[in-house]
Amino acid sequence: MNLKENVQIRPLSDSALVIHVGDGISEAIHNKVKNILNLLESNPFEGFIEVVPAYNNVTVYYNPIEVYFSNIGKEGEMPYEKVKETILSLMNQSHIVETTKERVVKIPVVYGGEMGPDLEFVASYHGLTPNEVIKIHSSVEYLVYMIGFAPGFPFMGGMDKQIATPRKETPRLSIAPGSVGIAGNQTGIYPLETPGGWQIIGRTPSRLFLPEQSPPTLLQPGDRIQFVPISLEEYKSDWEMKTWA
């Protein structure tokens, strides 16, 4: 299928536009998002700055001044029109492909105790034992749809509804980096110390934000994550370990 099909483009600002590819969350839509990402990053137009993928759209940032004085699009047109035409014509020449195989990143997690103070609550909320919650949480692969909120914070899909739990009524003022939490039917990992209302069920020694590396995050959109339960002793000895991938 042609990449341009069923795509809508709208402005976000005078320096960014959004390519909307579908509604809701699905792996098919995610694949299309990744196709567009790859297409634009490997064919940057004059004035292109960067792309940010989300669940079902891609935001494209551009420099309107540079675009205005460039040769892309039709002469005399406004930057938005020039960029829109350029992107549509690029997509028109491109077909949806299965993007390259996904990486599976293993994330070691020590569940419960002081590292996961809300594990007991999540378990009792569902009438499960803490071990059952751990088993459910660590038995599936999660797809990273997008990164946002904080550097390296993965928005993941695929959590079992059996352990979906509402946010805490009073958010914590500080959540330790590496904390693994549940909010509604989402699960996530906090890369930095931040306030937050997620139910914290465990913590990983893996560092998610790696400012000295390129790319600067452990996880990228399109990765699959597997949580691996470890003991507190292993956590302490593996503190320096960046990843088990």
Binding site: S13, V18, E50, V52, A54, L192, T217
Partner: protein
Amino acid sequence: MGIKVLQPGMLATIQDLGRYGLQKFGVIVGGAMDSISLRIANLLVGNSEGEGALEVTLYGTTLLFETDELIAITGGNLQPTIDGKETPMWRPLLIQKGSVLKFNTAISGCRAYVSFSGGIQVPKVMSSKSTYIRAGIGGFQGRKLLKNDVFELDRRSELGEELFKQLKREPTYLPWSADYTSFVTLKKTQTIRFIRGSEYEHFDEDSLKKFLSTPYTITTHSDRMGYRLDGEAIQLKEPFELLSEGVTFGTIQVPSNGQPIILMADRQTTGGYPKIAQVISADLPSLAQMQANGRVYFKEVTLEEAQLALIQQERKRNELAMGLRFKRGYSIFR
């Protein structure tokens, strides 16, 4: 030998034009709140316009110069003094070794920019000198300036060196200053232009009327990340689920309490609240200069008008840069 911080003041950080290309990893853009004032400050001392400079917020920041230096001060008027004497802004200034630059208190605007000829010597982190406080990276050791910090400067450019020498020979040289009024407005009540946000149509008509006709006050819960506004509440026609997606500088979100939040320089890369409006880029510097208790009126323009306003602003900036290069009294200089 360098610049020593005697008093950090309320908040002083090193900023440039921001960190681009990494938003898909959740790394924020950051950078100067009032980017045009930072760019002009750099141009005035012969730097490239995106060089790192000091963003000084509201009051108190006090610096000791351990060597003779060429600087410029732009942005909000925080009543800067050198050795206790009022000093002009928006022009190259020669500071003598041993002199003390102090920002007293803001009488107009909110943030001043101090550029240092040659630029501030701090490492670029992910290709930017901007301070990202929450992640503890960039700028001066990833944090705001503190008392007794000392930072060094890099070598002046050819143009910077020429200006520096000329000012040493003839302190009254260049009696002009850049006319900032075509770039930034420093008023307590301002009309800020916007284009419709992605979810504009989802808000009820009555709310949209209020948004367009009544003022919104910038609350004290406002910072480099966002301005929280207080005014007539804005409601959706009916609640709807919005997934997190890209947001940018100037995006106006409305959470369920109906009070808008304008995302500023240190915004997160993605957001999930409905977006009623988007402040046009040409008006962001003026908005960034507004303090808590300032009042904003919103005025809708088309996307074309927004882009033309930015192109116009850029033309003015080019004239200013040219004028400086030829050191003549172009119309942009008073």
